[in-house]
Symmetry: C3
Subunit: 134 residues, 3 copies
């Protein structure tokens, strides 16, 4: 069972997609298993985080310290664009997370939400694939 959801996000914005994942698990009718959450596209990433206004700023700020927008990237020579930093950030954070569930409930912590982040340098309609495993 596979579903693709879509979220419009600004540069460095993240969205909490936990409820979409919860609903998807419910629709599957499965009690126990795991759900794969996968970012389609190379400038988006999936992780878990406490979704609150502070960390929504802190996380992209630290990622930009790692791979600053505005510096030179060889990627820009290939396409004459400006999102080399976006690609590097997304590859570090990673495109997939797998979340276990039992008795129909995600085994996440109370302050642990599932998020998709748009690291691209422009607003993007980010696509995320959800799939029930096992």
């Amino acid at each position: 069972m596979t579903k693709i959801i879509s979220v419009k996000l600004d540069m460095n914005e993240m969205a909490d997609i936990t409820q979409e994942v919860v609903n998807f698990v419910k629709e599957s009718g499965k009690n126990e298993g795991a759900v794969l959450v996968f970012s389609i596209g190379s400038t988006g990433a999936i992780t878990t985080i406490e979704y609150e206004p502070g960390l929504k700023k802190d996380f992209p700020r630290i990622m930009d310290k790692i791979a600053p927008y505005g510096e030179f990237y060889d990627h820009h020579l290939t396409w004459h664009d400006d999102n080399g930093s976006s690609h590097v950030k997304a590859s570090i954070v990673g495109a997939s997370e797998v979340i276990p569930f039992k008795e129909g409930r995600l085994l996440t912590g109370t302050w642990q939400q599932i998020v998709v982040i748009n690291f691209d340098t422009r607003s993007r309609e980010r696509k995320v694939a959800l799939q029930i495993l096992s």
Copy 2:
């Protein structure tokens, strides 16, 4: 098949949970498949590493260079706590790893152990979910 294990860890401490994963695969009776290892809670993370005294210091040291404890985080304004850096580190490293096994044995390298890391700024009882996939 799902199991939750618990490991008490100090700030920036990691534990080798490979043997727990090996035992869990054995209990499952499965010869071939994959095991999901998931950190429950947003200030813990799962990765693989060569578990030896040197890297037990190096890894948290580099993570602290990325997101230094002691600097300002917007997260601290939300809860008046001090673990903004912990959340950022955990979200970069990630909450899940999936490890394949065949003929009842993990397909990990000889010097590649499965670890849970406590990035929180205090000692924590870290919970880790193990689940057989496929």
Copy 3:
């Protein structure tokens, strides 16, 4: 269904293994599911990235800014080797990615390739396990 592939890579070199994953999914005869891609060994890592000459330089360059080769690592005291930075980089990027497929096709973006990276300080024959999940 599990397969181990092998790719010879220089220090900091990455290889696009998307076609190997596509072929493996085809061989499985499955239409819908997910494929686990796992780096066997603690100085290699798996991620997705736009595989083009610029990012092949940018990604290892930023990873080396995070964990510079040439600096002191406690790891070097354990084995008297020089690859402490390699281990740290690999543990940050992670050993596993899980990629969904539907109607026999990977649900990756057009510019999103699956890569294995050799962070070790010498040329290595990197082994990668592929496994069909669900």
